[in-house]
Amino acid sequence: MDAALLLLADSRLPAGGHGHSGGAEEAVRTGAITGPEDLARFLRGRLTTAGLVAAALAAAACELATAPGAAADQAGTRPDEPAAGAAPESAWRELDAEADARTASPAQRNAARTQGRLLLRSARRIWPSPALDTLAGAVPDGAHHPIALGAVSAAAGCSPHDAALAAAYTSITGPATAAVRLLGLDPVVVHRVLAGLVPDLTSVARTAGARAAWERLPAHAAPALDLLAEQHLRTEVRLFVS
């Protein structure tokens, strides 16, 4: 593990992550989360679906940024492209399209792109790198957050496994913190819930960090999260963007 991972996963990283609850706010509003037990089930389900997918995409993006030749082989892309040198914009767009195909909900695509754009904007100033510039140029609307996180991980010197861990971790810590604020839960109890999920985090990051062709990366759906994300947009009084 690289020490830069601590900076990346820190909620104080100025990248706008605190504005998103990952469906937790809507789940609280509809009564699906009322206390620590519901929250634990929500987080476990989120981690093994959306968290796993995000972690796998982040690992692939980190790989693409650090070893574009090898990553292009994973993508099964054009053999006429040089294996050495930086990944071209087309490769980033292809990986971003893989994220799109795994995100059926437009509300979640928008939230992912907004967070990806904000992360990339900050990271280009913190860890300037040509790969981040290429990604920003390839997907001007904002890459999906896991893609941005993977590219940023590479720029910060982290491995694909680190990137997967950061993505898996942020997929549950954001909603957990939101639940503390929304329900007035005891932060210590909520952190105990998170500590209980550490074995799952480890196993998700290990699964997600395994190299695979992009088309075969995990694509676990969470239909209830999709519904929550779309309902949330129609809720008038909201503390969080998503």
Binding site: L43, E98, P223, A224, E230
Partner: protein, 242 residues
């Protein structure tokens, strides 16, 4: 099975099958899947290959739901469908019911050429009345013109995840209908010039059902329900609004 275009009309060409799954032509361009033995049982491997030739139309249905039973090891069904330019495939079998103790894998690979249209329904019921389901892992991959349109996996059978308010909540059935084709796509802003959805990003939602415009040329109607009849009603409601 496959279709051919003869004199401007769809003709069913190859139609070969072996029990436990028998194919029966039941109308012009319509085929029913008939279960001629129980199952699939653990250890069974069923494969269905569908080739819809350019400018032909095929409709596939089934006469009854599929009850997946336990047996010696994992059961597997693989459906591979290719849909040519200007062709239409409607795939609407009855639900897959996961009996107690089953261990099932479902793989669908749907390859659409540009200009192909498809309506693809998938319904999974978590056990018969009052029954705890076995395990199921389904993977669905749809590409259109070589670009990924929808990739999604459903995992059923881990009680710690199934009941998560992020995944299925208290639902006992999950289902979706993918609609894809030229009617659902045109190059637009916000999609980086990729073929996108003419409905923009406007989803439609109701209790347990969401109509989700995809990033590519398609819409996903996704539903959760307490029972199979409600699931079908919700999907039908969503189809009327897609």
């Amino acid at each position: 099975m496959g279709t051919e275009l003869v004199g401007g009309r769809t003709v069913l060409g190859t139609l070969r099958s072996d029990p436990p799954l028998t194919l029966r032509q039941t109308g012009h361009g319509t085929v029913h899947l008939v279960s001629t033995a129980a199952g699939p049982l653990g250890g069974d491997r069923l494969e269905l290959a569908v080739d819809v030739a350019p400018h032909t139309t095929l409709e596939i249905a089934s006469v009854a739901s599929t009850l997946v039973l336990p047996g010696n090891g994992e059961s597997l069904t693989v459906v591979e469908a290719r849909v040519g330019a200007g062709a239409t495939l409607r795939y609407a079998p009855e639900p897959t019911v996961l009996a107690a103790g089953c261990a099932h894998r479902m793989v669908v690979r749907l390859v659409l050429e540009e200009g192909a249209s498809v309506s693809w329904r998938e319904e999974i019921v978590f056990g018969r009345y009052g029954e705890r389901p076995g395990t199921c892992h389904s993977r669905f991959d749809a590409t259109i013109g070589g670009v990924p349109l929808l990739r999604q996996e459903f995992v059923v059978g881990d009680p710690a995840v199934d009941g998560s308010p992020a995944v299925y909540g208290d639902a006992r059935c999950v289902g979706s209908v993918l609609l894809a084709g030229p009617a659902f796509g045109h190059p637009g802003p916000g999609n980086g010039g990729r073929p996108g959805n003419p409905r923009g990003h406007a989803s439609v939602i109701a209790e347990g059902c969401a109509v989700l415009p995809l990033a590519g040329p398609g819409t996903l109607v996704s539903a959760l329900a307490p029972d199979a009849a409600t699931l079908r009603a919700r999907l039908t409601w969503g189809l009327g609004r897609s």
